[in-house]
Symmetry: C2
Amino acid sequence: MDFSKQRLGQLIVVSGPSGTGKTTLARKVCDRGEAVFSVSCTTRAPRPGEVDGKDYFFLTEEDFLARVERGELFEYARVHGRLYGTLKSYVYENLQRGVDVIMDIDVQGAMQVRACEDDLVKRCLLEIFVMPPSLDELRNRLSGRATEDAAAFELRMQNAAAEMEHWRKYGYVLVSGTREDDARRFDAILEAGRMRTSLW
Amino acid sequence: MDFSKQRLGQLIVVSGPSGTGKTTLARKVCDRGEAVFSVSCTTRAPRPGEVDGKDYFFLTEEDFLARVERGELFEYARVHGRLYGTLKSYVYENLQRGVDVIMDIDVQGAMQVRACEDDLVKRCLLEIFVMPPSLDELRNRLSGRATEDAAAFELRMQNAAAEMEHWRKYGYVLVSGTREDDARRFDAILEAGRMRTSLW
């Protein structure tokens, strides 16, 4: 066995309610060049400045649905009438080049990725649920930033509580504490993950 | 889910040829109080200064074999006529109190632990193979310390090569580099391991 031989990248799925800082954690790793964010595909029109293949892969509804039919997507969902999803091709090319790919997705999307039977996914998958220390603490963190009305806020809290029920399905749970400690522990999960024998 | 509730400890199995520094890595973790070494049991007589329950659990041959019969041992082997092994009770009590236990054992012992069907072991097991960067490099590292003759040295190299064939059966492989880097990566595996959802 030659360990200098390229190992596979990791498919890092990060979920958790907003307010836990999960996106910030993921972004820091990408900013350091240690992983790339997964680029989603969508049927919505590009907004000014958005670049095809960087912000999104922009697809027609017909093309999107044909790809779903052919099993080319990991996961997808319709939101406000538009389709959003993740193309396997983008993810697999990176994994095969040894590049870690981060998917910042909700528990429904994660469930679809987890259900994928492809050998590459089974070998590379690393699932992290970022958990607020408690619902009360999440309430504190979210109330500071919210510019929404009370009803919308309560709905967000209910959604968070519902998401949090799914933590056990993930391989790892990171219970959020201080920002520094969270970053250190997130990095430890990724660094350890790169030494998994399944990646060779 | 209350995450302040005691999680289980990890059963950390460390294998790899001598000369990779695996025992030093494990000892540092124990010295910091983050894990305890598994205490083996044996039928050999205590040497001067050895304490029962600390250095070994000293058992009679009859008692040892009766315990094997009752399934109380994870793994055991006869070496130079004496029996050596690991009692489940010692390991399980620590895991249930949330204390990580390190077993520094060879690939045969690890295979026996891996074969254990107990739910607690399945949930807590963390297997690390510490790998020399190459056989040539291992030869360099071992030749410096050896006070043995050439034939004994070659036998040790052959055993190392045979052990190294088993790396894929472990969850993690740490390819040894510098001492500092090895320690950092070993700690990352342990720290990440403590966030595995299976421990709750």
